[in-house]
């Protein structure tokens, strides 16, 4: 195959009708740019979903007590009793809980959260002790004045393992520093009891909250429960078992919110479907318009180049050579439009990523899928004209000369 000659032939073919070629190129470029944007946003949504699930924890789901219900009926709040009941009934799962207090009122910097929990929290949530240790059962039983601090808060307060931190009139010894993932779950739909942020100070939940200025809370009140299953395959069964347990008369809590991987994905899925419908329609419209213009360009090219086709056949070109020539012309337009559209969209998305409200992920799929689409579009929309050109009888073509 003489590639230089083929490229030259292709270039001349496309330049013969600059108007149609330009229109086809523009439509396909816009379509490809829209496709790239769509893929980047869908990729961003998918990535965000994975991050949210990852931040909640693998095989973890949570139950969250809405604050208004808590104010209305104290007896129907989540409490440490629920943790005990669930733990006793779910031997294949780990159950923990979290109570949030006003950190600022206790003397912590603005935005810091003071949370009370037990010794199993770090086995359930994907938070990692980077220095020191987490609470142990002894800390919980003896109501030890110890604390685990997130690295972000420790840095802000200049704390390290062994430091003392004062919460109103009580002094706590920092026993561990923890990396706490935050950011992905902090959306309007997710309560702080699930995503407390990365400026967090944890104390044993058995220590009386004497730092609290709020009315004395009910004994053992919790804002959220977290349950981690041991078997991914039985995760849905575990959720159903917890649902059944929470329906027992002594466990019922009004207005409980369930935060499961499915509920996290569900919210984003609606978002994803909307983007797919709107973006997909634009992509389809532009690509079909560009493709049809391309077909029209090639068909006109075949009609006006009949003598040239005859000459090529007289010089030994096979029908395949002729068909390939027109198909390659189409591929030149679709692939160059793909590169232009992808490049432009990539640049715009890179620039807008920092301030865009939409999650954007520029992965390899954002390049590979448009390239494959360009290739497939080129083949599909040029097939008919290329076939028509290849089937022109050389003697008929030369008669038109």
């Amino acid at each position: 195959m003489n590639w230089t000659a083929l490229l030259r032939d292709i270039g001349e073919g496309t330049r013969a009708q600059p108007g149609r070629a330009g229109l086809s190129f523009a439509s396909l470029s816009i379509g490809m740019a829209a496709l790239v944007s769509l893929l980047a946003i869908l990729g961003g949504v998918r990535q965000k979903t994975q991050l949210m699930i990852g931040e909640l924890g693998v095989n973890v789901f949570g139950l969250v007590q809405p604050s208004e219900t808590e104010r209305r009926a104290e007896k129907s709040t989540l409490s440490r009793r629920h943790v005990e009941i669930l733990a006793a009934n779910l031997t294949d799962a780990i159950v923990t809980g979290l109570r949030l207090d006003d950190g600022t009122a206790a003397g912590l910097p603005d935005g810091a959260i003071l949370a009370a929990t037990d010794e199993t929290l770090f086995q359930v949530r994907p938070w990692r002790i980077v220095r020191g240790r987490q609470f142990d059962i002894s800390d919980i039983r003896t109501r030890a004045h110890c604390a685990v601090v997130s690295t972000a808060l420790a840095q802000a307060m200049n704390l390290t393992v062994g430091s003392d931190v004062r919460l109103r009139n009580m002094t706590f010894r920092v026993v561990g520093l923890a990396d706490i993932e935050a950011g992905s779950l902090e959306t309007s739909d997710i309560r702080r009891a699930v995503a407390p942020g990365n400026r967090l100070l944890l104390v044993p939940w058995t220590v009386p909250a004497s730092w609290s200025t709020a009315p004395a809370p009910a004994s053992g009140r919790l804002d959220s429960l977290f349950i981690k299953g041991s078997e991914p395959a039985h995760f849905d069964t575990l959720i159903r078992r917890v649902e059944n347990l929470m329906l027992q008369p002594d466990c019922t809590v009004e207005g409980l919110s369930w935060v499961t991987p499915h509920s996290l994905v569900h919210g984003l899925m609606r978002y994803q479907q909307l983007i797919m419908l709107a973006g997909g329609a634009i992509v389809l419209l532009c690509l079909v318009l560009g493709g049809l213009t391309l077909t029209s360009l090639l068909l006109t090219g075949v009609q006006t180049r009949v003598p040239e086709i005859g000459l090529r056949r007289a010089l030994g070109a096979s029908p395949t050579d002729i068909g390939l020539l027109f198909m390659c012309e189409a591929l030149l337009i679709t692939l160059s439009a793909t590169l232009a559209g992808t490049g432009a969209a990539w640049a715009l998305l890179t620039i807008s990523r920092s301030w865009s409200p939409l999650p954007i992920h520029l992965g390899p799929a954002v390049i590979i899928i448009p390239l494959l689409s360009g290739l497939i579009l080129g083949i599909i929309f040029s097939y008919w004209p290329a076939r028509a050109a290849a089937r022109i009888s050389p003697s008929e073509a030369l008669r038109n000369e």
Partner: protein, 227 residues
Amino acid sequence: MTASQPSILKMENVSKLFPTPHGPARVLHSVDITIQPGDFAAITGPSGSGKTTFLNLAALLDRPTEGSLHFGGQDVSALAEPNLNALRKHRIGMVFQRFCLLSHRTVLENVLFRFRYLDIPRSRALSLARQALEEMSLTPHADQPARLLSGGEMQRTAIARAVAAPPDLLLVDEPTGNLDRDSAEGVMQCFKNLNQRGITILLATHNPALLKYCNRCFAFKNGTVIE
């Protein structure tokens, strides 16, 4: 030429029918022609007499409906399309009445187009193309776009393209139809020179003045031929 040398083109009892809405139209009737290597044969006859159909068959661009067609001693009547392509590519040259040049390309590029479907190194093709241009006295126009040439120059470019890779058989269809008398004389002289170099030429023409250049003449009338 020796007696044992096979004919370059041999048609035996060849007929060609084309489908029409009113049934098949017979354009060639039982044509028997043998062209020997080195011939400069003219095909004459009025329009519609079957000259172009005959040339298309000779160029292996079409197949006979009946009869047998031999090229270089080989029966090509039922030869597969890729084999016909190979024969056209390597052994047949064609010159057309309206030149069939690529107007936006230069003269040299038009001649180089002869090698478009041949596996010949670029440097060799360039050398052959320049040689053909030299023979046609077109070297000064080599870098000029073909559309700027005169009619005679265009036809000589087309001839240079046809013979740049020397063919066994050169088929020429009305080569002077679009030329003035002087240009026509120049073009015919080119054909004469090529024939003297051993290229077999089959020339279709209306113009009786061109017959003086040929050593054989076939007259077509209503699809039949007489020598």
